[in-house]
Amino acid sequence: MGMTEPAFFVLTALVGESRHGYGIVKEVEDLSDGRVELKIGSLYGILDRLLTEGLVELDREEAYQGRLRRYYRITSGGLDAVRGEAARLAANARAADRRLKSLRPRLES
């Protein structure tokens, strides 16, 4: 079964760069063109699950304005999950595209 869209975006946001909580929120918003706006409660529900499943892990902690900021990074299992989900979504998009292209000549005729 495919993963949820917010979880997919959270994992994608961590590809290539570790990020802290609000950094993930902003990156997800950018990646989705503002369509997915994660609430803090939703983000940490997803992070907790991804951490339990071993798709994400703690990278480091940094001091910021008197608080410790936790940074998260994607694991190799997480990368596989993103690749798998991206391939599944791409296959879906190709199938829809093929169907739409086959419709075009008939509409034009």
Binding site: H20, E37, G41, G45, Y64
Partner: protein
């Protein structure tokens, strides 16, 4: 500490203690970062925390074994209630078809007031709801149950208003509490599709739990409909037995057999099945469901008692209580054994 941070920390107290211990500081930090970005501060953030707390406490890995046990039991009771609603809708539809076949599908049918497509289709929505639930189609099940619930509220209000013109739905001091009781009961099956516990696996075997009783009960129902409404006697003699072996008797007998099977083979469903069976039998006994309707519209004494149904209802209540007690002891023991592993 700013007021925003203080308020946010208060909301975080809704989360399970172990979860809060691990995530709180990080969540507060992320919240303050987002609050600094003024466009992101909203009440929606608080609702998201409330929803997260609800999910974690009910079905998440952070619920204690005891909470998980209660959740599993509540879900089990609700799934049996959804099954019951599906069977009840099927029996009602069979009765409608039975009257239609024997008297003709016209205005003289006793159920003719409820025969437009929305009435029929709406009540039958419980069947696809149950099917979608047990096959794991949760989004479809959730949409269907909301429509079914809205339909039941509408139709119950119409029937009740026809019987009691002064009746108004959802009024606390309603003169006929059975209608309010029925409407309240409908939330039990509705709960099933919204509180599916983590780890619930779709199981096609549930379909047999609907199809087999539905076929038998539909047959009993159709066979029980007299050939003519004004001359009930010319029905075959053997059909008189159906006066005693009716749908409720069959359901009680099925529940007793189900509990015995669950006692041996399906321990996970034992407690919810026992609670549902005991509750159903008790409701039948208390509401006088064992009485045979007379021409005057009610029962007048022991002469009108359906002995078979009364005995089966009592047996179902007794077996439900005993088996429920056994199931409770078993589950409590396994919850105690799991307790040290709780995070």
């Amino acid at each position: 500490m700013t007021p925003a941070e203080r308020n946010f920390r208060r909301v975080l107290w809704l989360l399970p203690a172990d979860y809060r211990q691990f995530w709180e500081e990080d969540m507060v930090g992320a919240y303050l970062d987002s609050a600094a970005d003024s466009r992101r501060r909203s009440v929606g953030e608080w609702f998201a925390i409330v929803w997260l707390a609800l999910r974690l406490r009910l079905s998440g890995s952070h619920a204690s074994p005891r909470v998980q046990l209660w959740h599993q039991t509540a879900f089990g009771i609700a799934i049996f209630a959804t099954l019951y609603q599906s069977l009840a809708a099927t029996v009602w539809f069979a009765e409608l078809v039975g009257w239609g076949i024997k008297l003709g599908f016209h205005d003289t049918s006793p159920l003719s007031q409820l025969t437009d497509w929305w009435d029929v289709g709406g009540l039958l929505l419980w069947v696809p709801t149950f099917v979608c639930l047990v096959l794991g189609r949760l989004v479809a099940a959730r949409v269907l149950v909301l429509v079914a619930l809205a339909h039941e509220f509408g139709i119950t209000a119409r029937i009740a208003a026809a019987i009691h013109p002064s009746w108004r739905p959802i009024v606390p001091n309603d003169p006929d509490p059975t209608h309010l009781l029925y409407l309240t009961w409908l939330f039990v099956p509705a709960v099933a599709v919204f509180l599916v516990p983590r780890g619930f696996r779709p199981f096609r075997g549930w379909l047999a739990a609907y199809l087999v009783p539905a076929a038998v009960m539909a047959w009993i129902t159709v066979a029980s409909v007299p050939d003519r409404s004004d001359i009930p006697e010319p029905t075959p003699r053997w059909l008189h037995v159906l006066q005693f072996v009716n749908v409720e008797s069959f359901l009680h007998a099925g529940l007793i057999v189900g509990m015995i099977v669950a006692l041996v083979r399906a321990r996970r469903w034992l407690l919810p099945l026992a609670v549902f069976s005991g509750g159903f039998a008790a409701a039948q006994l208390l509401s006088g469901g064992w009485a045979i309707d007379t021409q005057e519209g009610g029962s007048a004494g022991w002469a009108e008692v359906n002995v078979v149904q009364l005995v089966l209802a009592v047996a179902c209540a007794v077996v439900g209580t005993v088996v429920g007690f056994i199931g409770l002891l078993r589950d409590a023991r396994s919850a105690r054994e799991d307790e040290p592993g709780d995070r």
